[in-house]
Amino acid sequence: MALKRIMMLSLLLVTTLIACNDDDNGSESSLYNSGSNSRVKRIIGENDHWGKYELQFNYRADGRLDHVWRFSDDERRDTLGRFAVEYDVNYYKFEIIDYVLNIDPDSVSILKELYPTSWEDTLCERRREQTLYSTELSEGKLITNTYQERRGNSEGTLFNPIYMNISSQTLMVENNKNGRPLVIRCYEDIYGRGSENTLYNRTVLKYEFEYNGDELISVTQYIPDSYSETSWTKYGEFSCSNYSGILTGVDSDKYKMRRNSKQAVVALPGENTTYTLNDEGLAIKMESTTGETAVIEYEAGSGNFSELYATPLDRALGKVWVK
């Protein structure tokens, strides 16, 4: 009987203590929800760099992206690259990786002649990974890097398959209490070509976001100015239009976005991209004036792909439609 009472008391005590605990994990569980119930599963498309391709997305149990395979879009379905993600506390690194041959085309021809049955095994061994694009969140800063294969050095002793860094962007985001960007400060580095690749031209920018309630109504761009009392000078402005809380348009000198229930059009200098949207407002088809196309398939579930590859600035300005 005494044991029974002690157990009853213990149960009461535990219940009481649990009742007193704050729920501190609520925000964590919603961290990777994209707002819709779908996440990208497969993209089949074509672009200048990869040609025809297929991307297959794989997620962890908690909804976070685990990896993506890139296959050739033919019956062989060779694995030609991957997207890799590395997570840690307040840290992630996302990379789009190409598998490139560390052997020049002439040598491939020689291998093919000498070893007609096994030459492809050698090629597999001689491939190396090259990052085409990466994002990294570290110490509160989001850093993106864009790389490009070298041109005019694809043969003989000049053969060099290592990609060169052509630009990078470092963003420091200050959010409002609703978790939306209030100020984004960033610097953009454009690297020189060829032997001047170690030199870069840096532009420091600041974007201030203005909301009406929860609707983004404008984004003002500033550059530092030694002659200004505030140290900053207005450099540009993005005016935004909304419909029922949904961003439907962005206008500036060098960027425009329009969306309706079925389509979104993103216009940059010399390039227009049209997205066909599904009922959830996600792109299921993409066509660009540069010839780039893609068909996007989704599956049920939460994901974080767009948060990994796109910057908060691009997301806020309506450039990102694949989630």
């Binding site: 005494a2 009472r5 008391l9 009461l12 005590l13 009481t16 203590l17 009742a19 007193c20 800063k141 470092t170 420091m172 200050e174 100020v183 400060r185 610097y187 840096r202 420091v204 600041k206 530092p224 100015d225 030694s226 002659y227 200004s228 009392e229 505030t230 140290s231 900053w232």
Partner: protein, 517 residues
């Protein structure tokens, strides 16, 4: 008993449910962040007079940028603390004098909403923009002078061979002192021995001293103040004189109105010693003085009072001796009117007009180091009387690399071998311009480009391969310095393709060109 235990446990449970009433209004302040400056980028260097720019990206989350104030304050060395800028980006002209140890530059960012500041300290080393190069002395009014400095690859090794940018710091003396040099510059000389730097200028009015890093006159080192004991020839203006360096010890020799004193530059010495007198000589009047720039040979001087040669080192002056059978007597040059002292490949040469014959002679002496009165100085004589237009020549130059005589009339520059006199015109002044001086660049450092046989760009070291010709146009009152490579040694051939001639314009009447070390 059990009842009490139950009551105690229930009380504990109730305590556990109590609200934490401690102050929840405490807000953690966001730190002031500085980005766009790498951790190692806290050391900067800047040339004096240039604009120093530091571009940090500063913000504090939750605080509007307009509520951040900035202050860039520099202090250290001999300057009073000075606020350079009050915006996020520093962009300020650095007027502080060169200071190798580095000034402290404190960047203070204040969050005006809280009054909290963040301080970051940078180190700024201010460099002299007036590095090694070529000093050009000129006069615009015929009464006062100024000094300009040419910084180009031809005159310094600091500038890359591929860097064709040429910078002229015009009128440095007046810019840094507010006034021109009174009088006409007779000579200027720079020396650097460790941190003991000096630019000594002799004008027809006075002797001046400055640090060649800033060109600021040092009044406490003017004229008489340059001497431990003021000699009688100092402080009354100067008719002629100049400086040479005795390379063996870096001693500076100054000839002022014919009397010579030397200055050791070691141990931070700034003053000249007593006037030097050769043993047994009570008076003399040096009108020509030369010291080899590419060897440790002695200083050679011509004494116009006693019509003889004198020789010098850091230990003093001495006269030579007549050597039987020698081609000439260095102790007796009464039959000559010397007008130039320089050096050719075969030795030190005194150019003179022979009074008895009217012929032009070159008296060549052996180059002697650590010599003595009984050293064998006389070597040979060459006759250049037959050199074309020699009677009209106003300017002369010799080159240590070749036995060649260069001379110029008002509008033509000639060269001839001293072995076989055969003058050829190497350069002709444009109409309206007159030659005001010629000099072969004989200091260290620099590269010069010229065309090879195929006309393609080739480079060589400048020392002893670059002829400097100064001209003056009376109509435009503009002086010009033309630099022409000596492309063929031993024949004195200058580059004829004007594409390889480098010219510097915009001067007044050029009085002389001098190396800045």
């Amino acid at each position: 008993m059990k009842k009490w235990i139950f009551i105690i446990i229930m009380q504990i449970c109730c305590f556990a449910c109590f609200e934490d009433d401690s102050n929840l209004e405490i807000k953690t302040l966001n730190p002031i962040r500085i980005e766009n400056i790498a951790p190692g980028e806290y050391y900067y260097s800047c040339y004096m007079g240039d604009t120093l720019e530091i571009k940090p990206l500063v913000f504090c989350e939750g605080v509007p940028d307009s509520k951040l104030s900035f202050e860039w304050k520099m202090y250290g060395g001999t300057i009073a603390p000075t606020v350079l800028d009050s915006t996020m980006y520093l962009s300020a002209k650095i007027t502080a004098p060169p200071y190798a140890s580095g000034y402290n530059l404190v960047f203070t960012i204040t969050d005006e909403t809280t009054g909290i500041s963040r301080l970051e300290t940078f180190t700024v080393t201010v460099l002299s923009p007036y590095g090694t190069g070529l000093i050009v002395a000129d006069t615009k009014d015929g009464a006062n002078s100024d000094l300009s400095l040419i910084r180009s690859k031809e005159f310094t090794s600091d500038i890359s061979n591929s860097d064709d940018s040429r910078k002229i710091f015009k009128d440095l003396w007046s810019q840094n002192n507010g006034t021109e040099l009174p009088g006409l510059v007779l000579d200027a000389f720079t020396s650097t021995y460790g941190t003991n730097r000096s630019l000594t200028v002799m004008t027809t009015e006075k002797l001046f001293r400055a640090d060649q890093n800033d060109y600021v006159n040092i009044p406490s080192e003017e004229d008489e103040n340059m001497f431990m004991v003021v000699p009688p020839n100092i402080g009354h203006g100067y008719e002629y004189g100049g400086f040479v360096e005795y390379r063996s010890t870096s001693d500076e020799f100054m000839n002022a109105n014919g009397l010579v004193a030397n200055r050791g530059v070691q141990n931070s010495n700034r003053k000249y010693n007593y006037i030097l007198y050769p043993p047994g000589v009570r008076n003399y009047n040096v009108t020509l003085m030369y010291a080899p720039t590419n060897s440790y040979a002695d200083v050679y001087l011509y004494d116009d009072l006693n019509k003889c040669m004198m020789f010098g080192s850091f230990q003093g002056l001495w006269c030579g001796q007549n050597i039987a059978g020698a081609p000439f007597d260095v102790t007796n040059l009464k039959d000559y009117e010397p007008f130039f002292l320089g050096e050719v490949a075969s030795g030190i040469a005194l150019l003179a007009k022979e009074k008895s014959t009217g012929n032009f002679k070159g008296l060549v002496m052996n180059k002697v180091s650590f010599g003595a009165p009984n050293s064998n100085y006389p070597k040979s004589i060459f006759d250049f009387t037959s050199a074309t237009d020699i009677e009209n020549a106003k300017f002369f130059e010799l080159n240590v690399l070749e036995d060649v005589l260069y001379y110029a009339t008002e509008n033509k520059l000639y060269s001839t071998s001293t072995v076989n006199i055969n003058s050829t015109v190497q350069w002709t002044a444009p109409i309206g311009e007159k030659i005001t001086g010629i000099k072969i660049y004989d200091a260290e450092g620099g590269n010069v480009a010229y065309g090879n046989e195929q006309g393609k760009r080739t480079t060589m070291s400048s020392p002893n391969r670059l002829m400097l010709i100064s001209t003056y146009n009376e109509g435009t009152q503009e002086g010009r310095l033309i630099c022409i490579p000596i492309v063929t040694l031993h024949a004195g051939i200058l580059e004829q393709d004007s594409r390889w001639h480098v010219q510097f314009t915009g001067f007044g009447k050029i009085l002389g060109v001098y190396k800045q070390n």
